[in-house]
Amino acid sequence: MKYVDEFRNADIARAVAAEIASITDSGRHYKIMEVCGGHTHTIYRHGIKDLLPDQVELVHGPGCPVCVLPMGRVDEGIGIAERPEVIFTCFGDMMRVPGSRGNLLEVKAEGADIRMVYSPLDALRIARENPDREVVFYAIGFETTAPSTALTLQRAKKEGIENFSVFCNHVTIVPPVRALLDSPDLRLDAFIGPGHVSTVVGCRPYEFMSEDYDKPCVVAGFEPLDLLQSILMLMRQLDEGRCEVENQYSRIVPWEGNLQALKSMAEVFELRPYFEWRGLGFIAQSALKLSPAYADFDAELRYSTPGVRVADPKACQCGEVLKGVLKPPECKVFGTACTPERPLGALMVSSEGACAAYYNFGRKSFEKVEIGSK
């Protein structure tokens, strides 16, 4: 397939892997975090860890927007979806995210009108087609999906569509990374920066990582060669003692970001003072809500959501696993109170979360595999 297969070339991969190996210090252990869930997916799907030296460990970060949603926000979405006048719309992977009493798929089975959409604009179309119903869009995602929600709201306002509202759960990428960097027991050496988020925000927001925390960061694309090349760029920085923000994904990511998208976001959203992350607790200024100019479209106001907080069990140690302090089976609730069927923490929600992968495949989720002959 053109423009995809070129970035999956095994010969080039071997050459890049050999270069990484050649600058790896055999006496040192490197922990590199990929912040974004999309990168985690690529790493699993193409088996990238098998191409790296034993000394280089990839740590999966907090960047899966559905995994980090706290149970309270899922419960509140379900509360809105259960109202008889509401058509509730959301992205496909939101359907299985567990709240304290089930997920959207189960609520749909109980009779709620829940529809999967591929874009918030589809939700707006449903609102136009059903003027006698209330259509609510469950907005999730980092700065990657926030502009499309902003654009949809701008359009709804312009067209005066009154039966449409948004339950906003957009989060921002920098605050959780800063929270990780601030923790005294952090054991990470470098970061792979998120590619799609950066098409919107650019590379500048990551400069604090190298300037204030001495951690190199390379913004990377989503094909396996993109990731391998960005790991090489990070290893070169570590090898040469440099500490910078670099852009591996320059074919897509402008250094300054997408100014038009940022402008739309600035008009439609404002920062929440704080927001809860599953397994990580409350993080200041880490999420977006609708601005006063768009208050009429805010489902939180329209349905007076109570802002219930469902406490993470004290024993949940997602934060420690994320920081690289604990391995999944060392968490107190791993495999007992927290399982892929009934996840408590973010890392158990997606099958690619570190804990879910360990639950399903045991040590093989960490170990390198001897390939053998065909």
Partner: protein, 359 residues
């Protein structure tokens, strides 16, 4: 953390996994129909314990019931596809081929089919007639007749136009011993052609995605392919399945679990059409979990594998057959794929529906 403690956690998980699953969901939701883990739980946790009997227990595509000197093979399947007519086929053709294929991969020759039609009030007669003709044509092609049936009409809004339920009876070949218990390390895994064509054709035909691509469903009878394998592989033919709902990924996980061995795949050997690959790439779903309706997955002894592959490729519908992997001692009860990129990836059973990802 000590190695021993980690081992204790792993052992506890393993013990959990071996316990018969309990079905705890208060209601049935769509994930219970997707063919993956939730469907397994429904069948093994709710149906199997209550209906328990020796013919049902192996949960194969068709049950084998001793009858005189032979084994009678019996299978049933219901078809609820939307739209009724899609590129490459329609519900009537699918309903006959699907049941014929469940018999064929069980090593049985079909002797008769039944068909039940559940028709929604308001369905155009022309549409129904087209489907009955499609059923007759598919049955004729497979050399079997629809010998009994039933019709019911339900009120408007209570069905998607037409649901079809088919049951097939056949006589099992006494020479064959097809089962996950016959599989041995070193055996090769054959796939008769490209993956995911049917599921991709349906997704695109529904029109929700606004994708325009020419993908045809692969619905067809597997009898000629099975025949070719039987002739060339003989007693080296160990196991056959029809990777429909849940796809090749799910079937191979069942094989790994039931045989106790590992399954190893090579990604670059997986036959996948460019257009299916592209559609799956855009939607963020994996062709390994997408449904097929005319593909045969077979495990054969290594010494007959090359001959079996050649035989498949000579049959219509098997031209793109490949040896996609093999059975190994390790990783026991798991499926591992060597990726085209040079790494490895564990292939899990499908969890819920293959839903598109946002990230």
């Amino acid at each position: 953390m000590s190695e021993q403690r980690e081992q204790r956690v792993l052992d506890a998980l393993e013990e959990n996994r071996r316990r018969p699953p309990k079905f705890t969901a208060p209601r049935i939701d769509m994930s219970h129909g997707a063919g993956g883990k939730a469907t397994h739980k429904l069948i093994e946790g709710l149906l199997l314990p209550t209906l328990s009997n020796p013919a049902l227990a192996p949960l194969t595509d068709a049950a084998l019931i001793p009858f005189g000197d032979n084994n009678l093979a019996l299978t049933t399947d219901s078809y609820v596809v939307r739209p009724l007519v899609f590129p490459g086929g329609s519900i009537g053709e699918l309903a006959v081929n699907g049941t014929v294929n469940d018999l064929a991969v069980s090593g049985a020759t079909p002797v008769g089919l039944s068909a039940a039609l559940i028709i929604e009030e308001g369905l155009e007669t022309e549409v129904l007639a087209h489907e009955v003709e499609a059923m007759a044509a598919a049955a004729g092609h497979a050399g079997v007749s629809i010998v009994t049936g039933d019709t019911k009409v339900v009120e408007r809004g209570k069905g998607d136009g037409l649901y079809v339920v088919t049951t097939g009876a056949g006589v099992a070949d006494p020479e064959l011993s097809l089962s996950s218990a016959s599989v041995r390390p070193g055996d090769k895994i054959l796939c008769s052609g490209t993956l995911g064509d049917h599921g991709a054709a349906i997704l695109i035909a529904r029109g929700d995605l606004e994708l325009e691509a020419e993908v045809l469903s692969d619905t067809r009878s597997l009898i000629p392919l099975v025949q070719a394998l039987k002739e060339t592989a003989g007693s080296g033919l160990r196991f056959m399945r029809d990777p429909t709902r849940g796809g090749v990924g799910t079937v191979l996980n069942e094989l790994a679990r039931d045989s106790g061995f590992g399954v190893v795949l090579w990604e670059e050997r997986l036959p996948i059409r460019d257009v299916v690959h592209g559609a799956c790439e855009i939607l963020g779903i994996d062709p390994l979990y997408v449904a097929n309706e005319g593909k045969l997955l077979a495990v054969v002894a290594p010494e007959v594998a090359d001959g079996a592959l050649e035989a498949l490729r000579r049959v219509e519908g098997g031209e793109e057959a490949e040896i996609i992997g093999e059975v190994r001692e390790e990783p026991a009860r798991m499926v591992l794929m060597h990726t085209g990129f040079g790494g490895t990836r564990m292939i899990d059973m499908l969890v819920g529906d293959p839903l598109p990802r946002i990230c």
